[in-house]
Symmetry: none
Subunit: 209 residues, 4 copies
DNA sequence: CATGAATGAGGCTTCATTCAT
DNA sequence: GATGAATGAAGCCTCATTCAT
């Protein structure tokens, strides 16, 4: 009825329509008819390209992972400068690109939920695990770089910081999704200042229980 | 039929049975009949205590929020010592209590997903927002305390660090849920070392794009 | 809406309603809704008793086989007299009982068709094979009895005659179903006269290609 | 794509492909796409030659009736000799020609079933009635010939015997289709011996209920 | 109070048929 | 003529909810 996106083929037309509807209504709240209507095609046509609702959902997931990874890579490869600067730049790039599609964030929650239940559990869980691993690796490589260059303290456990950082980004967006008054970009930058400071400064030991 | 966990009343019997089943099968994968079977009661009985599946789900959510908050309070109130030490102790307490019920973590994902799908969106979204706000407040109060006591640097933005920290905890558990080889406790402690170091040390300024 | 048949239980209520509708509209022409309406119950109720349309169809088949066998047994056990007389009496009894339910004959055709195609092929095919074997056996036992008693010629191959006879009965009813002007009872009696005569009389050999 | 059976035209190409698929999967189990694939043509092409699935099915039926009749005529016209011999020869010829295409037998069952289900009922029912009548007539003519020539007893009711005989042939093939261990040719010959004996021998009267 | 048999609205999916190329 | 991508009517089945016992 009103296509305009440069959808090369019908497959991606459907995926994008589905993404929109899944994001708005959730997996089980979404009717195949809604997707068809959103895509401006007949209900049956979807089944020419995808085997089932579940199959389509997974295709949306893969599409989503792919564009997310692509964004991340761009954000990372972009910059020169000190490792600290690059880390902060990565923070900005990621959050900005995500904020641009915050309305899609509910998709992520649908994916999480799918990975927790249902038939597709395994496929999703695996994909998430791999996705997080990849992402952690990218960030930890950056941090390790900082350690090797002497910019960061040698005691720093790059893996752990990367894992927590990746998680923090994720969760800041989550909070932004829940709370319109929450500004994740500013928040993250303040946080990054502290964290980077922690990476750079000679540690003051703390003990615990 | 064989549940005797200290359920004072049938209401909590049903809630706990429902929590179990929702965690395993997801919201829409769960049948009322499954819950009744799990609780060892008749299907119709559920409707004596809850108005609908959705209502029961929300009750599970509230129950979950409550016990989670209770755990958190225990973790926080527990310790004395320096703020750094208390922060690290909080980290340990929270992660430990969550790890004990990691199999319930999928419930959180269901709740997230529910907050994204239109039917119950408002109720869940609101509850999550409040939950996160409360939690951020608790943590930011602690950090602010550190600033006021001179233990942490004055430039530190307590709110932001709290938000990111709360998020990082959440997301580390998420990663643990996806990845059995991932150890969130150790990871979090390494991360906390760096973060606390960043809070304590005099900042080395970093600029960015 | 208007039950009156002495249906002890709902299972047979549904089976009988289904038999009626399957007989009138054929398997794939039958809607589950039709059956429910015919039985005066809700659509969903059928699924409390049968797993699927196919399962219900098979249940109808089994019910049909059972009552058919029961009829046959009555027909057979009934009479004394010479074997010839008993054979003729069997002929009459079978055809009469079938003619009483000729409107159900189309069910048989549905069953044949089901045995030829579809998922259920094996189950139906097997049941038909067994059904025919049983029936042949009953008839051949009778004929063999005639041979042993010296009433029939010793050269008679009881098995073969039984098989053909069983088939002839079947097929006469089939023709009656197609052709309202066809009188299978008279026809069969005339035929039986010839056949029994052939069993009794000393054979006049015939050769062929 | 790879069919070159002497199909003069595409019409018969399609009919034969359809016959194959209908025989294997049954009417409603058959997809138009299957037929097109079997015929090595496009789905749409079928509609250039036939108005609908049902129309094609009926065309297959007519084609089937035609070749069956042709076979029967050949079998009948073939032989000289006594009527008994011709009858036996007919038996052999018919069964042999049918056994050669036993895998097509399931088509007959589909046709029967079609004649029972409401949509096409009339057309099929009529065709079957005519088919049986024709066939009975051919056989009864033969038997009457035997009576007239004094070879068979005058009391014989040619029509009835013909009807039963035609039915027996049909049903023996049916049993063969259900039961691979069943040998219809031998069976039929043993049966024919008895029957022909009954036609020839002076009758021994039998009375019944 | 407790139950579970009964219900029927609702949704996914199939597939004969159409029609633009 | 030939094609096969697109269609949407139609049907099986699910399952939250009700209510008579």
């Amino acid at each position: 009825m009103e296509y305009k996106t440069g959808n090369q083929n019908k497959t991606s037309l459907i995926i994008e329509a589905a993404a929109k509807v899944f994001a708005n209504r959730g997996y089980s709240g979404t009717l195949m008819a809604d997707i068809a209507a959103e895509a401006g095609i007949g209900k049956g046509t979807i089944y020419e390209y995808f085997p089932s609702k579940e199959g389509l959902f997974f295709a949306v997931f893969e599409w989503f992972v792919q564009i997310t990874k692509a964004e991340a890579k761009i954000g990372i490869s972009a910059l020169g400068g000190s490792v600290s600067e690059r880390l902060m730049a990565l923070n900005d790039a990621l959050l900005r690109s995500w904020l641009d599609m915050l309305d899609m964030y509910s998709l992520v929650m649908e994916f999480w939920s799918a990975s927790a239940s249902s038939q597709m559990r395994q496929r999703f869980k695996l994909a998430f695990r791999e996705g997080y691993r990849d992402f952690r690796q990218i960030v930890s490589a950056l941090i390790r770089d900082g350690v090797e260059k002497g910019e960061f303290q040698p005691e720093v456990d790059a893996e752990s910081v990367a894992a927590a950082l990746v998680g923090a980004w994720d969760a800041l967006l989550l909070q932004a999704w829940f709370d319109e008054d929450f500004d994740p970009l500013t928040t993250s930058r303040e946080f990054m200042n502290v964290l980077i400071n922690g990476l750079i400064s000679k540690p003051q030991v703390v003990s615990s229980a």
